[in-house]
């Protein structure tokens, strides 16, 4: 892929170009359906954030986490409840939701993280199901299946955000923050420890990496990112419902990172950018009877990717090679 080369040449320029393009989007002419397109793209970016968050666990640390949507839901309900009962602003809610997510991440992670791959997956899955069950049945807290309607919109300097492009910019902003967090972690001691665990747990241990601590850290950070995404989601939709946080979501997000390339940040985002609008394309293309079965495609993506290109569109190795290349530039040797 040639423009990946370009990315290697001057990644910063390329990146800024993308951001600029994104900022430009709402003002392009689209035959009256701007808001619709923007809404779809907002969803896509939201899933980019989610994918980046999930990526930390299976991508960086190499553990299959099927319970991610649980944290997403926790974040959404934290945000919704805080907004309704204490009408807090988004800027207070985001960190609180993140904290709550991290807390639950640690509570779940600490005891389960020593399990072997597939048992871990199953336990996380059970966790997310339990979260949904609790949300469903604890009416006094979440109003259960009645959902949580009438969440006030976020405000910026007293001016409430209602238009679609405003939300688009907001989620872009969140994406940039998360992106910064993830990249910085990736290039730090923590990130290296994660990669080491992913590559070879025992060798990592013998290099002085404290498995449990770093796994729990990864889990907590991933959870808090998920919760932040959830917080935004609640503020954006203004209505949340237990059905929005079903197991499907976890699979969908997993599908994004598998498709894009587990462990490579660019890949994850690319995956989200391709697969999420896909479902809208399908809505336009498929007849209604087939549209309800569109998850079939995602299942197929998982299987085929694993069969023919398990490393995804932008493989982890290539990301690492690029990093090495940049290090070479830096050291000038």
């Amino acid at each position: 892929m040639m423009d990946l080369k370009k990315m290697q040449k001057n990644p910063r320029f390329f990146f800024l170009g993308l951001v600029f393009l994104a900022l430009l989007l709402p003002w392009l002419p689209m035959g009256g359906s701007t808001n619709y397109v923007i809404r779809v793209l907002t969803t896509a970016v939201l899933y980019m954030v989610l994918a980046l968050g999930l990526n930390i666990v299976p991508g960086f640390t190499g553990l299959l986490d099927l319970g991610y949507v649980g944290f997403y839901g926790i974040g959404a309900y934290t945000s919704g409840l805080l907004a309704i009962h204490y009408n807090m602003g988004l800027w207070l809610i985001l960190p609180l939701a993140a904290l709550n997510g991290a807390l639950w991440g640690i509570l779940l992670g600490a005891p389960t993280l020593r399990l072997t791959g597939d048992y871990f997956a199953i336990v996380t899955f059970g966790f997310s199901e339990l979260v949904v069950l609790v949300i469903r049945n604890e009416l006094w807290l979440t109003r259960g299946p009645m959902g949580l309607p009438g969440i006030p919109p976020p405000t910026l300097f007293g001016h409430p955000l209602t238009r679609d492009w405003e939300f688009f910019y907001l989620i872009l902003f969140i994406l940039l923050i998360v992106l910064a967090v993830v990249t910085r972690l990736q290039d730090s001691r923590v990130g290296r420890a994660w990669f080491a665990i992913r590559e070879d747990e025992i060798a990592a241990q013998c290099c002085g990496v404290n498995l449990i601590r770093y796994k729990v850290t990864a889990f907590a950070i991933s959870a808090s990112i998920g919760a932040m995404a959830g917080a935004f989601y609640a503020k954006w939709f203004k209505f949340i419902h237990p059905d929005m946080f079903k197991f499907w979501e976890s699979i969908l997000i997993l599908c994004l990172i598998v498709f894009g390339g587990m462990g490579s940040i660019a890949g994850t985002m690319l995956g989200a950018l391709i697969l999420i609008p896909l479902s809208e394309v399908l809505r336009a293309v498929l007849p209604q009877s087939l549209f309800s079965a569109r998850y079939l495609i995602y299942g197929l993506v998982l299987v085929l990717m694993m069969r023919w290109r398990p490393e995804g569109l932008i493989p982890f190795e290539r990301a690492q090679a690029r990093k090495a290349w940049q290090a070479k530039e830096r050291l000038g040797s």
């Binding site: 509570l107 600490a110 020593r114 080491a196 990592a204 241990q205 013998c206 982890f316 690492q320 290090a327």
Partner: protein
């Protein structure tokens, strides 16, 4: 002078067969200690015990007057775990039933949540050997139990059949209360027993591999265990991990300290690579290296943690004579840095030319020790090796 590493009467058995029997050895600073023996003699098992990957069945390992493995028995650890699990299972079984008989479901759910938290805490602490944490968990549990008993008595005092609660039935309640209280008392008893045991065990857990690496004991592996998808440089950087401080916050906010540390580590990593002669390949992926290079990279990674003791597990395996002579020079250089080297090697030429002192193992038993010449002429060793086939005969 005092030995840097001492192993006393170390034994390790997998199920029935014992891989190590009563091994006792010592390594002095700046020494190159060789460990030889035919296949299956338990050499690698010994290394795994030293590096903390296995927990020995019996025996003691001391590293610079610090206990890597204190006088410790697996059996006792298992007993603790059994008690703990039994206790939790009991809690899981009796609390729900008990509550479903006596109190409305709301209380019961709260109880289950608390129990859940308690169990997570318990599990976490058991796993990590964080005993203080565990005592807190127990304190919590005591509170639950006492409150339960209190409620039970309370309900029994006012036995009004009119109370409308989930499944409150007089006959069942009459059955329930002695049983519930009995269970409560029993679990409290169990708890106390556990408590005392744990207190005795507080410092009784072996060090984990990462802690051992922190102490300054690094190792390489017989079957190469590199991080193949990472760059050579990053491999060595991870080797430096043990000495670094930067945590999540440092990474997020790129604090000055963190930046300086990163730069320093990068420099040192390059030095390590230069030391083993891999600086040219620093920016390739480790997977792309040749076999010999990968072996040297493993050594570089181990060196990066500035160890006091270096464990080399068959470093010369599969090397041609030129490479292995290079290796010998490398190891001698390492010794020059004042690092103690424990080395497992089949290639007797390498071993005899390197080692200051040699321990010979066979079937997990120490059959001979001494300087190379003694070993070379030791009848038992020769016998063991001839048993292993003449090709291995010491030269």
């Amino acid at each position: 002078m005092k030995p840097v590493l001492t192993v006393t009467r170390l034994s390790k058995s997998f199920g029935g067969l014992s891989a190590l029997k009563e091994i006792t050895l010592a390594a002095h600073p700046g020494q190159i200690v060789g460990i030889i023996g035919p296949n299956g003699a338990g050499k690698t098992t010994l290394f795994n015990c030293l590096a903390g990957l296995y927990s020995p069945t019996r025996g003691q390992i001391r590293f610079q007057d610090r206990a890597v493995v204190p006088e410790f028995s697996e059996a006792r650890a298992h007993h603790i775990r059994r008690c703990a699990v039994l206790f939790m299972a009991l809690g899981l079984v009796w609390l729900p039933l008990f509550w479903s008989f006596f109190l409305p479901a709301a209380f019961f759910k709260v109880e289950l949540v608390l129990l859940g938290i308690f169990i997570l805490a318990m599990r976490f602490s058991l796993m990590r050997g964080l005993m203080r944490f565990q005592m807190w968990a127990w304190g919590l549990m005591v509170l639950f139990l006492l409150s339960d008993l209190f409620f039970a008595v309370w309900w029994l005092i006012r036995l009004s059949p009119s109370v409308h609660l989930t499944g409150t039935h007089i006959p069942l309640r009459c059955l329930a209360w002695p049983w519930a209280i009995g269970a409560g008392v029993f679990s409290i008893y169990l708890m106390i027993q556990l408590f005392t045991r744990q207190v005795r065990q507080i410092y009784g857990f072996r060090q984990s591999p990462d802690a051992i690496c922190q102490m300054g004991m690094a190792r390489t592996f017989q079957n190469i265990r590199l991080f193949f998808n990472l760059s050579v440089l990053d491999n060595v950087k991870i080797g430096c991990h043990a000495r670094m401080k930067a945590g999540v916050w440092g990474a997020l906010f790129k604090t000055r300290a963190q930046r300086e540390e990163e730069a320093g580590v990068e420099r040192e990593a390059m030095e390590c690579l230069r030391f083993v002669g891999l600086e040219k390949r620093a920016f390739n992926l480790a997977g792309a290296l040749a076999y010999g290079e990968q072996r040297r990279l493993e050594i570089a990674r181990a060196m990066a943690s500035r160890p006091k003791v270096l464990l080399l597990d068959e470093p010369a395996a599969g090397m041609n004579p030129r490479e292995s002579s290079q290796l010998i020079r490398l190891i001698l250089d390492i010794r020059e840095k004042g690092i103690t080297v424990l080395i497992i090697e089949h290639d007797m030429r390498v071993m005899m030319s390197l080692a200051d002192y040699i321990y010979a193992l066979d079937y997990g038993r120490l059959i001979a020790e001494g300087i190379p010449d003694e070993i070379r002429n030791n009848a038992q060793v020769i016998e063991a090796y001839l048993g292993g086939g003449p090709s291995h005969a010491p030269t």
